[in-house]
Point group: C2
Amino acid sequence: MTIITAVTTHDVRFPTSLSADGSDAMNKDGDYSAAYVVIHTDDPTLSGFGFTFTIGRGNDLCTEAARQRGIPLVGLDVDVAVADLGAVYRRLNSDSQLRWLGPEKGVEHLALAAVMNAMWDLAARRANKPLWKLLTDMTPTELVDATDLKYLSDVLTRDEAIALLEELAPTRATRVAELSESGYPCYTTSAGWLGYSDEKLRRLLQEAVDQGYRHVKLKVGANVDDDYRRLGIAREVIGWDANLMIDANQVWDVPEAIEWVARLAEFEPLWIEEPTSPDDVLGHAAIRKAVAPIGVATGEHGMNRVLFKQMFQAEAIDFCQLDSARLGSVNEILAVYLMAKKFGVPVCPHAGGVGLCELVQHLSIFDYVAVSGSLDGRVTEYVDHLHEHFTAPCIVENGAYLLPTAAGYSAEMYQSTVDEYSFPSGSYWASVAPEVQAQPVIEHYLA
Amino acid sequence: MTIITAVTTHDVRFPTSLSADGSDAMNKDGDYSAAYVVIHTDDPTLSGFGFTFTIGRGNDLCTEAARQRGIPLVGLDVDVAVADLGAVYRRLNSDSQLRWLGPEKGVEHLALAAVMNAMWDLAARRANKPLWKLLTDMTPTELVDATDLKYLSDVLTRDEAIALLEELAPTRATRVAELSESGYPCYTTSAGWLGYSDEKLRRLLQEAVDQGYRHVKLKVGANVDDDYRRLGIAREVIGWDANLMIDANQVWDVPEAIEWVARLAEFEPLWIEEPTSPDDVLGHAAIRKAVAPIGVATGEHGMNRVLFKQMFQAEAIDFCQLDSARLGSVNEILAVYLMAKKFGVPVCPHAGGVGLCELVQHLSIFDYVAVSGSLDGRVTEYVDHLHEHFTAPCIVENGAYLLPTAAGYSAEMYQSTVDEYSFPSGSYWASVAPEVQAQPVIEHYLA
């Protein structure tokens, strides 16, 4: 018998604001961060690793919330827990006092994601399989038992969910073999951050084309004339056969979104991403009607499955960009994939940040193998930074994620990274000048 | 010149779980708590007091989030700040790193509410007026300058908002005089907690009738046969002319809500409150269609103005129950009142908890005087507990809130209360046995 002995948490922050990586119209100075969770067992060779992703300040709150969320795990028999991760999820998520702080949104839900991501990592390691393999080896009933269907029965019952998964169960192996050859297609946002000069943009776009990407994404929304010029540069470099996506990071009201996108329509973007508040289901539906045939994409701030249910019901989006560290881990993500299948909406997960690429590759593979069975309209985000901190980083070749082979959810960071970037006492943060060290706490306010 | 010198925060928790006060189908063991904020100035006679409300665990996170949110206030000139509370709100709310943790929801938004509630309290004290009077003395333009209209322009423009307020501006004094006579009508939830016995329920309902209440509310949703019996008792005691409301605290899926309410329809409830997930706009719209003429009410967990915008657009609710400590204080609440006016939906604020009654009385008075000009379908919640901890508690007589006369937002607690109930080091928590002291942290998990 192997027992969970402790859950430790770490506030890990990378000083990405110094290089404008990740800059967009809403988020100008993010320090990419992880509220990092380690589930320890009495077997020194077995731990689970997980995290949620934030952009700096407040990562301490997520870390402390994750510590509190993890308390009930201590003392559990690992094999009992991993045999019913639906029960573990419900136990953590049903704490009514913590539920009041959401429910199922904000810091508390991010913390739940961090802890349950570590539990799924632990389960996959215990089975000695990469997470995608753990999932694709589960029966339809086992998968649905792990899925949070609460509040969804008006669009998806348990029986429907099982039936959806049974459709593709007999042919899963074929699609695993196919992805082993080709990988899962991805696109790059690395070229398009708003803080980059035109020259850097042009150079990075050319690099993306040379690396085999068929999709690139640019940030927009700060200044429409700048956007017009940058999209022109993009089409010059990538041509008109490749796909160009644009991302406004929630800066517009609904009428403004419609107007702004019309101005950029001649560049034929595949989608406009996050045109307005991520909570505005009816707003996205209105924008979608107005900007067609340009698609509408959103989801990286989609707080929970109830929001996605409504996005599907209202026909508000063409692309579902769920986030692997914002939804309540695999338990809630499965529900979104199943609803997306029912409503015929492709899921193109949000990634980038720190470690999100490592997570979402498993989800996209699982989706193709077991849920959607399709690559049509599907392409998963990839951003080329901070992978060096992970013990089993994702590998992208010719614009596709290769199938991960290491056991787990690819979420483990090097201990040296944790030691260096823990805030504020890690060796990096302790070494910088006090003004810089204080930056994630108050610099923003002094600007 | 008076300067803000410090913002202090306090994790105040009351052991209400010991008496089952506040028990409902979702929340069985709440310890009513406040993340309490004091804004200090260099004038020892002038401070601002505010809070957000939680039910126990996680109040520490809200308190720390409020501390961080308050940092930019230190050093501000009080008169400059209170002259443009819209600017203060935008400054705090636009922190992009903290925004990532919501946006505008969960722990971070509760913390914003706590800090801005204290700023509005400070502004009213500076003007030596109760908050309702501060607001009703502001011009339409001043009010709209303080209102957060971001993401709302598809339903309410700035010009429309000003025009709405100008309608009633000339006649405000008449309605102030009227409320000075009659007070603002309220209803009581004190009788109806789910943890109470039938005998206690019957006794408390009779007391409510004797005290002049024309509306009472019962918790439902744990067991339909129990609900049927309890509603029968309620009608026996209050008769059929008084109004009976029921509250399910989010326990149902949409189809279940429709079925359960049908079973209770013979008792002719005025509304069913929180029938399902507070995020489910389209679900509430479906329930509303199915259960009419019973009304649908929700809002105490309504996370922000974008959610309420959609509730109005989708015709999902008959009663809007905004929460004074969950929305971003008066700045965001004004936006919801203005939209409610435009869509013709009465606002009946959520209260109870600790201190919420103290806050909402000001909002309801302001609404009648300056926004809606109507009492039709409007009744504000009142729960009779924990008022003794406030220096200027609300006063209810004959089922109506009397107009508050003390300067401020009625949010100040006695220092002795803060000293006694601060968690875990206050004199109450320090005095109880260690097992009980630990209860708010882990007792739930041990059950």
